[in-house]
Symmetry: C2
Subunit: 222 residues, 2 copies
DNA sequence: ATAGAAAGTACTGCATACAGTATAAACTGT
DNA sequence: ACAGTTTATACTGTATGCAGTACTTTCTAT
């Protein structure tokens, strides 16, 4: 076979076990399958996931680096538990990112990118009308992530994603009351308007307000 | 069974091998002992550090989570290499953190905390006069970290620390020219002034300018 | 010589084995 | 019955062994 001798790009996916386990484990934490404070039993969880302890442990170490898991000596890995203050600080951080990205996006984003975002927004509103919380929630996350991405600083986008992941579970529980949910949708409408008009200051203002509201919406859930 | 007897906090240090290796490895990368792009040989490095492959691998996975190392399938761990753009984005992110923290610190910090920071600053200036780059550099980092901490949001402080770690090596090389170095010190003087006066806007402005200058100072080093 | 194939080397990825430690259970004396 | 002590169990932390894969070197044919 004519094997590409030199600088051929990796066939993208070679898959390692810890590489496979990592996202699954992350999801299990985010989705609450592994509740906060849970001590992870390596042998048991390994069996459940169909891998030996080694790759599982390695995935755990990575998640520890990401801040989702805490490592206690001789006791093992514990799913990190966040206090109300932690959550408030995280949302404050997200707010900082999104406000910064908002301004940048208004000058950096292409028309096509904005258009795509508007489309996602419209789909989200439809899901809201259908009262499909899960779909709504996912699209909501997507919009926020995408907007930060349009800000053009991948470092910020990464960190934003990191913190957003930590909050996923908690945030999902925030829009349970109909009035709150409606409020969130209204804020999104404003956001989209400001974005299409490329009004950076306005967008930043709405995003900030949106995040403050999110904090309030989430607060009594804790 | 009320086995809640174990409310006592862990005796702080139990030390595990990977726990010991982690900071050493991080330092090796930051200090350039392991250059960017280096493929890490597990057996060799393990021998050098006096541990077997397992704890070393685990430390590597943690650093991967922190973003200092990249994991390439079947090739192992590679010390992450940052492009000029990456560096610019990281500094931009640091700027965002520090400007935000600057304002917050001016309202949140206690007099004692500010006083302590001023003291560190004075020591730093002394080191500058002695032209002791390493001492200066460390104190500089400390001042920036501490200021962000005074902002009162630990999440931001953590992320700031994370990115600062990635930049440590590069940034160290930035103040080599005397004029650049002098400029940095002057900016610090301004910062301290604004902080003691608790003038949040002024402090944020200087910090922003300081970071922009830092970018310029570092740029041609790459 | 030089391109291509083949064998050899070296290192990662994973599993398993074992030791040390923390927690739970059983036992003892009062 | 109960506090204190001892024994047992379970699980983490680490080392080691093996398999698979990428890389290097050697060999072969033109």
């Amino acid at each position: 076979m004519a094997q590409q001798t030199t600088d051929h790009v990796e066939p993208i996916h070679k898959r390692t076990l810890h590489g496979e386990v990592l996202p699954r484990l992350r999801d299990m934490i985010i989705e609450g399958v592994l509740e906060a404070g849970t001590r992870i039993n390596e042998t048991e969880l390994g069996a459940r996931l169909g891998v030996s302890r080694t790759p599982l442990r390695e995935a755990i170490k990575t998640l520890a680096g990401e801040g989702l898991i805490e490592l206690v000596t001789s006791k093992g890995a514990v799913v990190r538990r966040f206090t109300r203050t932690d959550v408030a600080n995280m949302l404050e951080t997200i707010k900082l990112f999104e406000m910064s990205a908002a301004r940048a996006a208004c000058t950096n984003a292409t028309d096509a990118e904005i258009k795509a975002l508007v489309k996602v927004h419209k789909t989200m509103v439809q899901e809201y009308r259908k009262r499909d919380r899960l779909s709504y929630y996912k699209l909501n996350q997507e919009i926020h992530s995408e907007l930060v991405r349009l800000g053009g600083n991948p470092v910020i986008a990464d960190l934003h994603g990191l913190i957003q992941a930590r909050l996923k579970r908690i945030r999902y529980l925030g829009n349970q009351e109909p009035t709150k949910w409606a409020g969130a949708v209204a804020e999104h409408e404003e956001m989209i308007k400001a974005l299409t008009e490329r009004d950076g200051n306005a967008l930043a203002e709405v995003m900030g307000r949106h995040m403050d509201q999110t904090l309030l919406r989430v607060k009594d859930t804790l």
